[in-house]
């Protein structure tokens, strides 16, 4: 039996599917977050060089990874919406932008707080920080462009073009510590090897999964709201229990 994926491209079909999927991501997110925080704040030892200030890594790194990953996912769904001319792909891209912006903002702010005790400064214009700040502006630009265009389909296509144009920034952020002499530390974690103590790495990976599952749950929930809003004239919306007053 082959699954026809394009059936899921209809908002009427995807709305209940998304509703059923959300708990499968929300509960694991909460669980991973509890375990990750317990590991990070409790079980992981005090760092030799940085003392206890390093523990913000358990929020900073997952947020930073999600900020880059979500932008690429948003650009992917934008490309899908341009290529297949599907409304739902664009609605997913629309749903991702605020969460991506939040993750970027969190990464910048937690990085600032981490920098103060360790580097002595809240901000330094080094390559990674600057390119992450540009990523925040790119997210805000996509959100601003969508709110500036009244016609939803024109907004979909314009935001997709903008997201794809800015997608080139993400590899720059990722490789910035390799390409430039920067204040930010280099890549400590690579697939297959890591320079971190195992329990710290474990805590960080569990928090990364927590951030990922949280992002999926929140994006699906927001996408459901967007579907109700944009498809409000459709018959299936009126037939839902939520919308019958």
């Amino acid at each position: 039996m082959t699954l026809n994926w394009f059936r899921l491209a209809s908002p009427a079909t995807f709305y209940p599917v998304a509703g059923r999927l959300i708990p499968w991501f929300a509960w694991p997110a909460a669980l991973c977050a509890c375990v990750g925080v317990a590991l990070g704040l409790g079980a992981a030892p005090t760092d030799f060089q940085q003392g206890d200030a390093y523990r913000i890594i358990f929020i900073h790194v997952p947020a930073a990874w999600m900020s880059m990953f979500l932008y690429l996912v948003m650009a992917f769904w934008g490309a899908m919406s341009l290529g297949f001319n599907t409304r739902l792909s664009a609605m997913l891209a629309q749903a991702i932008a605020p969460t991506g912006a939040l993750m970027t903002f969190l990464a910048l702010v937690t990085g600032s707080f981490w920098g103060r005790p360790t580097w002595g400064t809240y901000w330094a214009w080094d390559a990674r920080m600057t390119s992450e700040l540009i990523l925040l502006f790119l997210y805000l630009g996509v959100i601003a462009l969508r709110s500036a265009i009244d016609d939803p389909r024109r907004a979909d296509r314009a935001c997709a073009v903008l997201a794809l144009t800015g997608a080139v920034n993400v590899p720059i952020i990722y490789y910035s510590v390799k390409w430039w002499n920067t204040l930010h530390q280099g890549m400590s974690v690579r697939p297959g090897e890591s320079k971190m103590a195992t329990i710290m790495l474990l805590g960080m990976l569990i928090m990364s999964f927590a951030a990922w599952f949280y992002a999926i749950a929140v994006v699906l929930h927001r996408a459901r709201s967007i579907m109700l809003e944009r498809e409000s004239g459709a018959a299936w919306v009126g037939a839902l229990a939520e919308t019958r007053s």
Binding site: L145, I149, R154, L162, G166
Partner: protein, 238 residues
């Protein structure tokens, strides 16, 4: 009456890239040169912005010469932003842009011609004027030469990326400031490498690395931006 065996006539313009570029370039240049005062105003804006910074901070020499390349570059970015709406807005307002999009010439070629005309009337004068204004910032000859080279490579990138933003924000209420928000993050790498080239020369490292990266950016922009801008124009015309 034509028989079924005769093929339908195809315009010689279909798929013709360079003739399309040439047509759009000559048209836009002709229109721009009709209002030479508008071009002069843009240059004057550049000069005024460059003059503002020493007034705002200090005319002290060492500080000025450190600030100089950065200020000249930022002013070039702002001048480019200010002139970008001129690229599509007038044609969009009177319906010419729709006719251009319907033409058998590839829209990417026509957009490339428009961008080239925009650079020739905006970016090129700024790139030639900036080193002269470097005197105000106590820049020496070598710095001025490197600045000119960097601006000559960088200003086309500004026109190319700016065209994408101008097409995306066609006809929108918040046009100008939204354009700035969308385009400035994309301009930042150009700014960093452009201003960095002069700093590198002053530090004795040589500008080759920065200028090479700028050129790479220019090549990527020349290849990619016309497609993105043409797609954005079609989106705006729907």
């Amino acid at each position: 009456m034509t028989t079924a065996a005769e093929p339908a006539p195809v315009s010689s313009a279909a798929g013709a890239v360079l003739p399309g570029v040439r047509w759009a370039l000559l048209r836009d240049l002709r229109i721009a040169l009709r209002s030479r005062s508008e071009l002069a105003v843009q240059l004057l804006f550049y000069v005024i912005v460059v003059a503002l910074f020493p007034l705002a901070s200090t005319p002290e020499k060492t500080l000025l010469s450190t600030m100089g390349p950065g200020v000249l570059w930022v002013a070039a970015l702002l001048a480019s932003l200010l002139s970008l709406p001129r690229l599509f807005a007038a044609d969009y307002a009177d319906g010419t842009l729709e006719q251009i999009a319907l033409s058998p010439y590839p829209l990417e070629a026509l957009v490339s011609g428009k961008i080239l005309a925009h650079w020739l009337t905006t970016g090129l004068p700024v790139a030639l004027l900036a080193p002269l204004l470097g005197v105000v910032y106590q820049m020496d000859g070598e710095s001025m030469a490197v600045l000119a080279a960097a601006l000559l490579i960088g200003t086309p990138i500004l026109s190319l990326l700016g065209a994408i933003g101008a097409a995306l924000t066609l006809g929108l209420r918040a046009g100008g400031s939204l354009l700035a928000l969308l385009i400035l993050p994309l301009y930042v790498p150009v700014l960093i490498f452009g201003a960095g080239s002069v700093d590198a020369v002053r530090a004795g490292l040589g500008a080759t690395a920065n200028l090479t990266l700028l050129t790479a950016g220019l090549i990527i922009a020349v290849v990619g931006a016309p497609f993105a801008a043409a797609a954005a124009v079609r989106i705006a015309l729907d």
